[in-house]
Symmetry: D2
Subunit: 455 residues, 4 copies
Amino acid sequence: MCAIVGVFGAKKASTVAYYSLFSMQHRGQEATGISVANGEKIRLYKKRGMVADVFSQTTLDSMEGTCAVGHNRYSTAGSESQGDAQPVFAKYKLGEISVVHNGNLVNKNEVREELIAKGAIFQTDMDTENIIHLIAKSQKDALVDRIKDMLTKIEGAYCLAIQSRSKMFVIRDRYGIRPLSLGKLSDGGWIVASETCAFDLVGAEFVRDVNPGEMLTFEEGKEPVSEQVFEPDYHPCAFEYIYFARPDSIIDGKNVYQTRLQMGRKLAEETPAEVDLVLPVPDSGVAAARGYAEGLGVPFEMGIVRNHYVGRTFIEPTQEIRDLKVKLKLSPIKHLIKGKRVAIIDDSLVRGTTSKQIVRMLKEAGAKEVHMRIAAPEIKYPCRYGIDTPTKSELISANFTVEQIAQKIGADSLGFLSIEGLIDALGSERTYSLVSFDGNYFAGGNAQSPGCTTV
Amino acid sequence: MCAIVGVFGAKKASTVAYYSLFSMQHRGQEATGISVANGEKIRLYKKRGMVADVFSQTTLDSMEGTCAVGHNRYSTAGSESQGDAQPVFAKYKLGEISVVHNGNLVNKNEVREELIAKGAIFQTDMDTENIIHLIAKSQKDALVDRIKDMLTKIEGAYCLAIQSRSKMFVIRDRYGIRPLSLGKLSDGGWIVASETCAFDLVGAEFVRDVNPGEMLTFEEGKEPVSEQVFEPDYHPCAFEYIYFARPDSIIDGKNVYQTRLQMGRKLAEETPAEVDLVLPVPDSGVAAARGYAEGLGVPFEMGIVRNHYVGRTFIEPTQEIRDLKVKLKLSPIKHLIKGKRVAIIDDSLVRGTTSKQIVRMLKEAGAKEVHMRIAAPEIKYPCRYGIDTPTKSELISANFTVEQIAQKIGADSLGFLSIEGLIDALGSERTYSLVSFDGNYFAGGNAQSPGCTTV
Amino acid sequence: MCAIVGVFGAKKASTVAYYSLFSMQHRGQEATGISVANGEKIRLYKKRGMVADVFSQTTLDSMEGTCAVGHNRYSTAGSESQGDAQPVFAKYKLGEISVVHNGNLVNKNEVREELIAKGAIFQTDMDTENIIHLIAKSQKDALVDRIKDMLTKIEGAYCLAIQSRSKMFVIRDRYGIRPLSLGKLSDGGWIVASETCAFDLVGAEFVRDVNPGEMLTFEEGKEPVSEQVFEPDYHPCAFEYIYFARPDSIIDGKNVYQTRLQMGRKLAEETPAEVDLVLPVPDSGVAAARGYAEGLGVPFEMGIVRNHYVGRTFIEPTQEIRDLKVKLKLSPIKHLIKGKRVAIIDDSLVRGTTSKQIVRMLKEAGAKEVHMRIAAPEIKYPCRYGIDTPTKSELISANFTVEQIAQKIGADSLGFLSIEGLIDALGSERTYSLVSFDGNYFAGGNAQSPGCTTV
Amino acid sequence: MCAIVGVFGAKKASTVAYYSLFSMQHRGQEATGISVANGEKIRLYKKRGMVADVFSQTTLDSMEGTCAVGHNRYSTAGSESQGDAQPVFAKYKLGEISVVHNGNLVNKNEVREELIAKGAIFQTDMDTENIIHLIAKSQKDALVDRIKDMLTKIEGAYCLAIQSRSKMFVIRDRYGIRPLSLGKLSDGGWIVASETCAFDLVGAEFVRDVNPGEMLTFEEGKEPVSEQVFEPDYHPCAFEYIYFARPDSIIDGKNVYQTRLQMGRKLAEETPAEVDLVLPVPDSGVAAARGYAEGLGVPFEMGIVRNHYVGRTFIEPTQEIRDLKVKLKLSPIKHLIKGKRVAIIDDSLVRGTTSKQIVRMLKEAGAKEVHMRIAAPEIKYPCRYGIDTPTKSELISANFTVEQIAQKIGADSLGFLSIEGLIDALGSERTYSLVSFDGNYFAGGNAQSPGCTTV
């Protein structure tokens, strides 16, 4: 996942970036950072932790300037290092530069090896460092030409905001895999953000999505300049609708909540269940469960309570406390469930561990039957474009049939949305990226490539 | 609000208390504390902050013992002091004692004045200090008799857990205003807690509610001894069902979620609205909105997203960011709402400030009409038994008619559940405390008393 | 040890108290606290840690008022508790009160038992709590009379500053065991402090010592009122000169550095050594070593460097790092010491552990002979008046002869100042408290009493 | 200043590096860091703050490996950035590399411009980054050859420890400006450190100084290999003796304390004073004051007490508190000074601000006459090799005569050690770097160069 934001022409760009990142906290909680340019200098602050913990008023006040780029980093297995936060900043021939990146470059390793052979040094494993090196090493004079030069050398999924001391450049890859939207601030400035929910919080108006293959250039005193640097080959990632994005966001023209509702309705058509009650796994399963209940004509209830004070507790439980990780987060309403046949709707099923615990929890709460329904197809392939899926051997659907999985998780039945059902729910306007379901790698590299790590 | 827990006969009483308090975090986030007795000594740790932040593994490991009492403190206006956390501990004639208290003593000031006249000293304004002084100053020999002595001198709402170095005493006032339940730990120990959701997390089995006027005495190697120290005059607080308790808890025999559903259904009967959509104010309005939608036969949608990463942000917004406090927490799904007539269901309406912002938010999201419905009666009186309501002058329903309030908050219509409707939804088994609605002060003191502060 | 300060009639009493405590940090590093009265209210802030770490500008700014009392707590074995910081504050019949105390009450336990029998409760083991209880329980009307009442009930060593919302009372016990001086602030206010070095930092002028048995009452718009509440029986503690006080302080009319010089000279008379070089154990042995070298007519060198960045390091050393605790603090200058016969002067010898390591360090640095001289008599008795000496069994001089100790610590010779020599160096104006050396307990209780704990 | 350490072949290299840096804390308190290599990977931890605060047991335990390099950073004006801590780490063609550097490269800007022109990117302003880039961009195959290649391109003062995943390289510039010594750990490993005091703490034996122009290569299972990569042109910095180094260290064969003693004796010859007492400005002036007193045959006293609890206090003083910064640190013993003619000995005089406050302090303490003597020549030139001197306009001796300065600081007389006197005290074995005194820039660049910043 990850989230990026770019702000240009705002009086307090750092504050606008802060609240934007705050509203996109769900896309990454590991680290966050903002850099601000004031025409003369770029100032950067980044750290492990959540937005509200990392930034203080003092820090933001010290970051004066009208242009800001910011980033929320999603927690991935390999990234223990303190250094793996963005923006990535450097001094180079043309002065100072700061870059934020959401996505995954599939030719990252080849590019890095080439750079290293020429004497480049790297501080981290982030592919964002590749991008800065490619810009710094370009033979072109102007930054805009160096950026274009760089773009010819990277492949994969990327949304970029690149900041010099006085300009900002925003690029979305030709496939439009990760979302990126343009908004207008009420005081006349501009904002780009991974999700439109950022616009709602900071009082910006949604203008349009950034097009696949488009580069936007922001310069003081001018309107943003749009240039189509690549032929679009639109493949927005279906997972944004299934799981990543906030329900109130509009991704490539479609509202997330409504799309999930539609997936739930389709799921009811494809794999109905004879139940008394439909329950969501909160919060991400709510909309699909609503659609599923509507499709079946069966009552929907918020029969599982989500504890929102979770934070991180590292206290070792006593022996008597079972399934702690799920129980800390989810708690069933026994009176509602007791003696009922229930359908439980989740957004996806990856390893099956949590599902097993949820089924057990519902049975212990007295459910007569538990029918699990997943508002997405079976995940059979690792993704290369920025979704943190495990390797194939860990993907339960890559290794077992639906019936086998149902048995493993203890459900009385299990059903997935079909790929066709998903496509139907998403609508026919676009060709979506469905690699996790169909293994069809379309953007650079080849399908045998071992998988992906997320930036 | 506040939450208390008492654990007796558990191998790691501190850990059981920790997870119990964790599951009752919604009842108080200002401060928390646990004290543990091991037969020889009581160890106490308490601090401002939330459970998961206050306690570390090291701290809990240092608190050995099989008996623990713990407390979550609700944030109230007057309690800036560091000292206002519980348990309250003291050394006195019989050794060491530690007390946790949920409720509000209506004769607190009279008792304190009397104690002070006799030379007592106080560190805080908490009425829990009164309780310890009364025990220490009792002329009786045994602790159990001193406690009974103390109970004759306090009036109001209280649930108490009192710990000596080897025993635990649990008392619920004769009215049963605040909830308190008894559970059995799977390793043979006992637990009492303000809400049953604590039992579910720590793997305890619900045994029964502690009776109004009952004292339970826990001693090693013996079954808990029950004694009815007062004639019961059962008046559980209706607000537990309306707002305080977690939906999965069972308070005095009734599940909270189901009771809220029923309030919503009743609300639909009493004050229907011609709408296309019913939305809850998440999370506390969800169950009532479900009932309301069901009653009307109109679709229910989670049309307002709640941001759960809120924490506390103290960053001053830019001028462009309006209604920040509500927007940080709530965000409407515009696509769903646009052009629709919506009913928005909240659990209560106190000052009207938030309601006004929610109505404006929905109108800005494109709602054609906004009909606000409150799943509780009008709050016209301050409470004296532990609910942190403002003074009468701040209670909007104490000063304006329903129509005037509708206009003030900008709603196309406004409706409340009637007192009768609430009673009907709660059922006829009990007489509930409805002081905030009917001003009927039944437990000590007199109705002219100026109000209450919460412990 | 411990330090107290009282400030009256200063514009920013909290800041004056802060800097006073800062300058007396050497008297106690475990905890610190200040309370400030502004005529209407007392505000208290106290915490574990050193003065500069505990107080922030924000904290001090929030403590408005012209009267402040403050305390530095010395680290003692038993005081793990967070609560053991001063001032001790309470609300009682006459309003609010705050007390700081330096010293040790020898009848603490008897008083406490009596109070407890009457129903008093205690939060800590500090005898300062006794004092507040005695004041609160007095039958007298005026605070001043209650204080006098309290004074008739406590025995031992005490310097007290007691603050109400508008007055301050300062008392020194009849023996004058612990030091206390009165100064005048340049803006007209008053200050009392354990050491005069506090006056130098805050720009106050030394007026005089507080007399043994004297009570000073400070009230707005009036000069301080002095009252002799006890017949003086002056016994200032010799340890203030030997070890506790800062060399620039003037304690009961004598400058500490000069007194130490004199002890060194006397030591040279009594127990000379044939050496090439005299070295102090820095910093407390410096003045005596200077006197000793002068007495012998042998060069004095700062041949052991003290590392002042010590702080607390808790890193487990490798096996190769021997005597880490001493080496972290002290480091010999080998070139200076190699092949020389050296006398090493320390201020006292308690357990002998450190001395042994110092002797070994000097021998490893190449010293041909190491002659240890102690500028104080042998410590043979535990103190009851506030010096944190260990029990008799741990006092090496209570259990071994000088020759045996010399052998144990590996010194070529060992010498102590005689009691007569110490008296001679201190001068004949006063009778000093020498209990640690002669076991002569003069102030309350009896000599068989098992020892003391420090406040 | 700054300090570096390199450890090779130690079981717990991180702990050895930790204690070494701890003992060299006086050379830099702004930031610290250690990187450890275990043959496969380099792990780095660095942060603003002092050694004991930055590293925890957990951090050190996570840094397994037998080779460590570490650094203490001295606070300099320009280095606000979080990034300006060392070691500097990078991944490059041959794997991973980590570098620590003490000194100052005089051709830093030229080198950086050339690197940037070729497309290099920089994160900081530290010249250590130049060094890594030069290594990474070298066309040579082996790391040792790349390092030699790099050495041909840098000019100025440097002591370097360079770590790959399995080797360590240590280099001292041809002038030997900054100190660097080699020691042997008792378990068979090796250590290099800026000062020998590090060896004493970790139990290492001093072997010899690293030679000017020498490179030492450490490889597992082999003895260190020495190679003379440059013709030596020995110019150790006189300031190490005057001010920087700890008195117990041995720098290029001379003990610091003894050298300072000698400077004091020389100072007495050159600029005697008719005084009753000689006082040092503690701690750095102690040895010279001892020598001065000995030279004059006048008593030496530690007449100014240094407060070692200083830390950083940021509390705004009241108006009455004058000269706070000096008074927080230094306090005169009035009884000793009153009515006396005193000589006060300091190690150097840069801007004159502190000297003025010290003279005033002594006069206020009652000194009849105050004669200031400086155990170093007048500082007339900024240094380019790593001493953080201010620009020429701020150097009081570059702008005023000795008499004018005496008047400005209020001293009755002022005297400096002559350059010849300093050379005499240092001895004739070496030609010392005296640029601050004589302006003779010998190592690269030219004398007109505007000055230096410290690394």
